[in-house]
Symmetry: C4
């Protein structure tokens, strides 16, 4: 009885009306709240001002998500594929169940990393992976994957052309500027940083050519290359846009 109720509330495929069940809506809100807290907590001035609050909030969210995980595991038995102990083990290794597990794990692993600043930071941002749990509730992924597949050949060639252009301009600047700025242009790999910053038009200005020949090459590649570098991202954006519109159409037809 309770299991049947939980199944209807928790499994997206168990809820027959349009939209999300009240319990899943609450889960979404909790995920967003936990992610927001995780972001704010990284700021040391805020963390040090309320040292206990963030530890308490994190423990609370992990407790709630652990209970939710167990409830989902229990409710999964309603689905014939996942009933029985063998079925439950099969459920634990489904994609979204693993994602749910990863959302709780960093808390327990956090104790291991207690003295390592880098691992601590890593576990802190791993909490943001919880945001990916929202994906469970969206049907947009299939549409996105389809749109990307339809353009995969175009995407690969344009990434290849863009990569060659990045390499080519990095190699030119390396040949010309290496003697004057060994730190910034001392190898093709180092010059690639300049190359990416320039051809994406980000242009930080931390690294710029200083010789006349370097400026000439840089000017030519900047003018000629911008449209070429924008091609893969343009194709990617078009694929996203297609996916949204297909999804919209599907929804309209489904209503």
């Amino acid at each position: 009885m309770i299991r049947r109720y939980l199944y209807h509330q928790l499994a997206p495929e168990g809820w027959h009306t349009h939209g999300l069940s009240p319990m899943n809506k609450l889960v979404c809100v909790l995920i967003l709240a936990a992610s927001f807290i995780a972001i704010v907590e990284t700021e040391p001035t805020i963390r040090d001002a309320y040292p206990l609050t963030f530890g308490g909030l994190e423990a609370f969210f992990v407790a709630v998500f652990s209970i939710e995980y167990l409830a989902r595991l229990y409710a999964a038995g309603e689905d014939p594929r996942y009933s029985g102990i063998v079925g439950r083990v099969r459920y634990v290794f489904t994609w979204w169940a693993l994602v749910d597990l990863i959302a709780i794990l960093p808390f327990f692993l956090g104790f291991i990393a207690h003295n390592n600043a880098f691992l601590l930071r890593l576990f802190r941002i791993l909490r943001l992976l919880r945001l990916s749990r929202l994906g469970r509730f969206s049907r947009a992924w299939a549409a996105l994957a389809e749109a990307l597949t339809a353009r995969v050949h175009e995407l690969v060639i344009s990434i290849g052309v863009a990569g060659l252009l990045l390499l080519f301009s990095a190699a030119c600047l390396y040949a010309v500027e290496a003697a004057h700025q060994p730190e910034a242009f001392g190898s093709v790999l180092r010059a690639l940083w300049w190359s990416i910053a320039t051809l994406t038009t980000v242009g930080y200005g931390d690294v710029t050519p200083i010789t006349a020949l370097g400026k000439l090459f840089a000017g030519i590649t900047a003018v000629a290359g911008i449209g070429i570098i924008a091609m893969p991202t343009g194709i990617l954006a078009a694929a996203f846009s297609d996916a949204f519109q297909n999804n919209d159409n599907d929804k309209k037809q489904g209503e």
Copy 2:
């Protein structure tokens, strides 16, 4: 008799020919002039060179706009909805009447703020809100709102995707660069400033990764992310463009 004349001159719906009445054209010119003066006045070198001029001009504009406000209030009686005292009160709380009031208020509130530099600056730029009064004379708003509504779903998803990308790249750089540049990358919130500057391709260069791993992550997100970040603004621009063209078509059909 005067009220009827004022109504025809002041209310856009009271003027039956195409375009604006002479009195409303004058009001538009005065709004533009007052805004121009308000912008120039913020420059201290100019303000200090002519200390009395700007005070006098502002008093003049406020006087004119106050008279205009009272004239509109008086003329509103021609409209059956706003006749009588109850009708006038109703008129005062219409959207555009409130906007008109806000255009005069900062002058009178300015006396309160006389010793607070921040409030003074705030009241100075609040005068620029007068520019929004020009909106009263344009029929483009309805078209713009319609065009945005038609794309609201697309807009929300693309803002979501762009936001996740910003967060993701900020989190990566925080994990990698925090130890070397605590001031700029010491938290995900701080790293977001770098993230926005990079993915919009603004690239101020006040904050850049310095470790090899940070440059690698930054390069990948720059190349992959630019098209994605441009999506919401692209949709916004397309909605604006649709609104202009619909508005143009309406005008042509109306002529």
Copy 3:
């Protein structure tokens, strides 16, 4: 006899075959050469290395263009509109004849400016106006003007929206940052420099917000505004593109 020959050679409308007459082709080459010399001459290291060459070359080009001007004036008599002394005076005040005159004038005015560095620089770059003489030989101008006229309403509204956005973000940053960076954000006019550099995504980085609130506003306007600022230039580029294609079509139909 000579006048008729000169008319056929010099006046674009006097040459009946497709393309340009040999003499006009030579004039085009001379204009490009003179402009190239004028650009190179501004570089002091080159100018000082060959002090006499550039003066001589400039005198040569002015002599040739003066002879060309007189030849055009003489040949114009073949056209019934410009025959006789009254007709010649009328010719002198046609658009392209004035442009031709401006191409020679800076040389003679140069003697006046001999001791003023700014005027000297101004006359030096005025020589580049000779490039506009090339426009005489192209029929693309009419197509371009037509394409711009067709989109003038769209262009005006989008420039207005872009201008309001620039003002709005400059006013926000002025309110927030003026106290901390009076040099860069001390007035709305000064903040406009930051505003333009950011919203066009140029992002020099000479002026950036340093307060948390300033960075918040800057981030929001950067993300929201980029697509809007690109609208007028996008419309302009589309008008150019239309003009090229119409011109191409006209040529193909004319052949």
Copy 4:
């Protein structure tokens, strides 16, 4: 017998099934590996850590590519055009045979440059030209050339317009800023570096106008010019995109 086998394996036109022969696939992998090694070798910290490895690897790749070159020369005899000694000489001077030769040459020329750092760097990046050998195996070139030819007129005019705009804004800034920043704006040629960095929106920030008039001109050209500068690269990207799609269609029809 061996010659016939080599011909089928090495010449793309000798392999009748779809795709590449096993031997050519191996050649592709070797080219990519050799290019990767060539890029990594330019980094002095890596090169100095394994001084012998890179010399050995390079010798190995040159040996393999030399054997491959001789094998191709030998196998070319299967083609009636290149049989006999005269045919072989004709083969050596075909486009792709010359490209193959250039891929081996830098190694042998490297001995000449042993004491010249610039020539050493040049020969190191010349190895990257090996990547162009991959072009032999792709049929995309013809499609790309066709797409560019179809838009050549549009491309030339838009490059002309973009060039004039770059010159014009450089000349303005030279006139206004030369007195204050002779190093950066002391000639039109020097100002072009600023001009390119600004109008492509790269905006390094190493050179920015500092006078009010200079900022005014820079702001106007930035707002007005961005769409215009992006036109040639936009046309270039559209031509690339056309070429990809035509190539895709050809492949689909060919299957």
